[in-house]
Symmetry: C2
Subunit: 152 residues, 2 copies
């Protein structure tokens, strides 16, 4: 990369602004959507993590969500009372207990995801498929770079 290809400080500042604003709207809209589903943002995030990783111990779930062990335990207790998950004993090592998503949890997760994509579909109403593809490429690149930076 030669000098004139180098990113300017103004570009970084502009991108920081846009990411901060877009993230704030996504967060606010995500919360609004959840109020229709009797599920809190941490409960929704826990369901997403469990769907991605499969059954996990409370320790593993808490680690993925950056929660203290007691907070993760409280969260799972509330989700269990809510009928979203259940505690399941490992058949090989009965000392190990894992969290398993129940049908009600899967259902709510599906409904929330549909509401989120419906919202985005509305936002993108006047955006062409090509423009959307450029967005996807740009954000894929950004996401890749962010993930690599996290691992570095």
């Amino acid at each position: 990369m030669n000098a004139k290809d180098k990113i300017t400080h103004a570009q970084v500042e502009e991108l920081e602004f846009l990411l901060r604003k877009i993230s704030a709207i996504i967060k606010r809209r995500g919360r609004d959507i959840l109020t229709n589903f009797k599920i809190t943002p941490p409960q929704f995030n826990a369901l997403l993590v469990l769907r991605r990783h499969g059954d996990m111990t409370i320790g593993e779930l808490g680690e993925q969500m950056y929660l203290a062990c007691s907070t993760a335990t409280d969260l799972v207790d509330r989700m269990e009372r809510n009928g979203l998950v259940e505690r399941v004993r490992d058949t090989n090592d009965r000392r190990v207990i894992r969290i398993h998503v129940l049908e009600k949890g899967e259902e709510i997760l599906g409904e929330v995801m549909t509401a989120r994509t419906d919202y985005l579909e509305e936002v993108l109403e006047h955006v062409s498929s090509n423009e959307c593809q450029v967005m996807i490429q740009s954000m894929s690149l950004l996401y890749k770079m962010m993930t690599e930076e996290e691992l570095a």
Copy 2:
């Protein structure tokens, strides 16, 4: 826009995924950065809002931040004790009290913003200026569409 230019459901789902992931990383990194500055995420957000809008009443600040009045008052109390802001009486109408950012608040805000752009600069290390410009254009378009949808 003709039919083949229409955004597909798969594109919307991919964009939802990317936005959710990128927002989560931005949030986590933002929190990590704040731990070095003795300031909480809501205090940082309040400083950002006050910088954009100038001195505001607690009611106006709470409205901008989607906080209940008692929560906004608690937040301002803690920020005042922290030396970040002060309460100032309106010179024309002494019943009106506004929140004013103090020098320490401005300083911390500046330092946090620098840390945030430093992080992003690191993320974008191997991205060319052109690629970054495409990111900015894509995200500007998305931000514009999101803002229009909020007003609709």
